[in-house]
Symmetry: C2
Subunit: 220 residues, 2 copies
């Protein structure tokens, strides 16, 4: 098949297209956790052969978004407290290491400043729309390292962060003004060359988010 119009749009193949579509549906919460996701269902849903659907599912299993045991249907991974804690601890390790490096050269990533300005411009109070610029702020810190492997790792963890938020329907977030202020403090510490303080501020920042997520998860 592989229509030329598909290839010109950045889709390199059928299986990658299916994978991207599935990933989007999972991260947006469209596909709920618990319901079986059979290869036949995916193959019919997108009109592709079963091997293609199988390959797409396997990619997502490798990404950690789906889980599957032998001869069982794949399912969207269920997020529990332990998962959230592990995801956030891993996140914190990467980001704090990044901040310490950036502080050495007093490098403040412009993209992080932009993302935080976007949060600050929003009306104060909890707002689901803060999620996107928030994640962009943190991604900008990692991207500033200009490391292919570190970036890849971070993005895989971030996928699971998005999955957490998709499964916690009531995304109770902190006040946008508070988030923005904490971000600004972190960047200030980086600008002043104090990597230790930047790492500590980040740890506190992410810890509160982690707790918020865990308590929302326990409320069901």
């Amino acid at each position: 098949m592989t229509t030329t119009s598909e290839a010109s749009l950045g889709i390199v193949g059928v299986v990658d297209a299916v994978t991207a579509q599935l990933r989007g549906r999972i991260l947006s919460g469209d596909i709920r956790s618990g319901v079986p996701l059979t290869e036949a269902a995916v193959s019919q849903l997108f009109g592709v052969a079963r091997p293609s659907a199988k390959a797409a599912i396997e990619q997502l299993v490798a990404s950690g978004l789906l889980v599957r045991t032998a001869h069982r249907s794949a399912r969207v991974v269920g997020i529990d407290s332990a998962t959230v804690r592990d995801v956030y601890r891993t996140r914190t390790r990467l980001e704090s290491a990044a901040l310490r490096e950036l502080a050495v050269t007093r490098t403040v990533p412009p993209a992080a400043l932009d993302a935080n300005a976007e949060i600050l411009a929003m009306p104060p109070g909890p707002d689901p729309a803060t999620v996107d610029p928030d994640l962009r702020f943190h991604t900008a810190l990692i991207d500033a390292l200009d490391s292919e492997r570190t970036g890849r790792m971070y993005r895989s963890v971030l996928d699971e962060v998005r999955l957490c938020m998709a499964q916690v329907q009531g995304r109770r977030l902190l006040d946008a003004a508070v988030i923005s202020a904490q971000h600004a403090d972190i960047l200030d510490a980086v600008a002043s060359g104090d990597g230790q303080r930047a790492a500590e501020l980040l740890e506190a920042h992410l810890s509160s988010a982690e707790e918020r997520l865990v308590e929302a998860l326990d409320a069901d």
Copy 2:
């Protein structure tokens, strides 16, 4: 196929067995970089169907051990200076973060002590046999965090470290006694709760290894 004797030995399927075999051959330097690794060749080599060989190759591409562009044969990834630097910088980030955490609770992983004792017991001087306990020492630091995701990430980087060493045939290593002493210093810093010093010692330790690898790579 899936013989019952295979299944009882921890092999869950044909494709996983092929993947493991291929990974071993790549990491041991058996399969040289540059030569094309076609799906048909893998399928004939292990006596499996082409889809199975394809799946195994795709897993290794995802692992970063193989590279492939569309409609081209897969090849073992070529290691250059930039790759080595990125691998080691990513490694350092994860390990230094681990040391800082361990220092907070003054936790010295027993497995790290064991691995380092193994190095110390070897005859002084460069010896390729130090590679294995050396890698086990560093892995023990990460494993002490008891984090599934962090461990997964670290292992993927470590695969590339092994690949680096496989491609640099003359594995000029530091003196076993020197390595062991540096490791001991790091653990001492952790035991005394000085995470900052542990991280700095680790950074110096890995930097020297990185330089050694880069200069060996440039000598060809």
